[in-house]
């Protein structure tokens, strides 16, 4: 039974170190990055660019009122 196992890994990954099949691992890595980069290449949807722009405008100017921040101290926890 040991023979069967070592034969299988030899034929699948000739000349590579033990453990997982190197060729399969590189295919998995490639597919993972392809899937991920597919989304990254879509860039920043307008929705998010707008969101950040709006929040930026809505922020009070700290030079006008230096106590304005204290009233709205919420760290987002429930």
């Amino acid at each position: 039974m040991k023979d069967v196992k070592s034969q299988a890994s030899k034929s699948a990954a000739p000349g590579k170190q033990g453990g997982l099949n190197a060729e399969i691992q590189s295919r998995i890595g490639h597919q993972l990055r392809a899937m991920y980069d597919d989304v990254v290449r879509q860039g920043v949807p307008d929705r998010f660019a707008e969101l950040i722009r709006k929040l930026d405008v809505a922020k009070p100017d700290p030079q006008l009122e230096d106590t304005g921040d204290q009233t709205n101290k919420n760290d987002g926890r429930d």
Binding site: I24, P45, F48, L55, N74, G76
Partner: protein, 182 residues
């Protein structure tokens, strides 16, 4: 630190990879974008707690990951239902080879335990170091390494027959082979 123009630009520049991370985690584009939006709102609301000079993407990924996990716990049933409809849409896809392979990969990724999936994505796709990934997930570096290894091993088993040699079913297979011999 206060929200400077350059910090705002850096946050915007992180949006594409935040979306990719969110989609890889949730397997659902709409939900992923909601998650990114919530992450941005949370980040901007807590921008004072961001340490200037520290790793901004890692900080944002941490927020997104924590939101996803709390959301996941709350909506476990919904998620399971969404998985069902997602699987259905896969079956109606045209059987083009590369596309099919891509969807198979996606489906296999969805089958990984959440801990392993996020570790694999952070290290293997987002390009974070093991140390950064450990900080994002709030665990030890060694834990991340073993999760990544287990994720790879399981994906091999799911996608390629050869990868199954590192897996549990080995025992059963051996028993079957041994049994048929006698």
């Amino acid at each position: 630190m206060p929200l400077t123009d350059s910090l705002r630009d850096d946050i915007l520049a992180s949006v594409p990879s935040l979306r990719a991370f969110a989609i890889s985690l949730s397997g659902n584009g709409d939900r992923a974008d909601d998650l990114v939006q919530e992450t941005l709102l949370r980040a901007l609301a807590n921008i004072d707690s961001f340490q200037p000079g520290s790793n901004l993407p890692a900080w944002l990924f941490t927020i997104l990951r924590n939101l996803f996990r709390s959301d996941y716990r709350k909506r476990r049933r919904e998620v399971e239902d969404a998985d069902g409809s997602y699987a259905k849409t896969l079956k109606t896809q045209p059987a083009q080879n590369s596309h099919l392979e891509f969807e198979e990969f996606r489906a296999a990724l969805e089958k990984l335990p959440q801990d392993q999936r996020e570790a694999l994505i952070l290290v293997g796709a987002s390009g974070f170091s093991y140390e950064d990934a450990a900080a994002i997930c709030g665990c030890a570096v060694g834990t991340i390494k073993s999760r990544v290894n287990r994720a790879r091993s399981k994906l091999s088993a799911l996608l390629y027959v050869d990868g199954a040699e590192d897996f549990g079913p080995d025992e059963t297979v051996r028993a079957v082979i041994g049994g048929s011999g006698g």
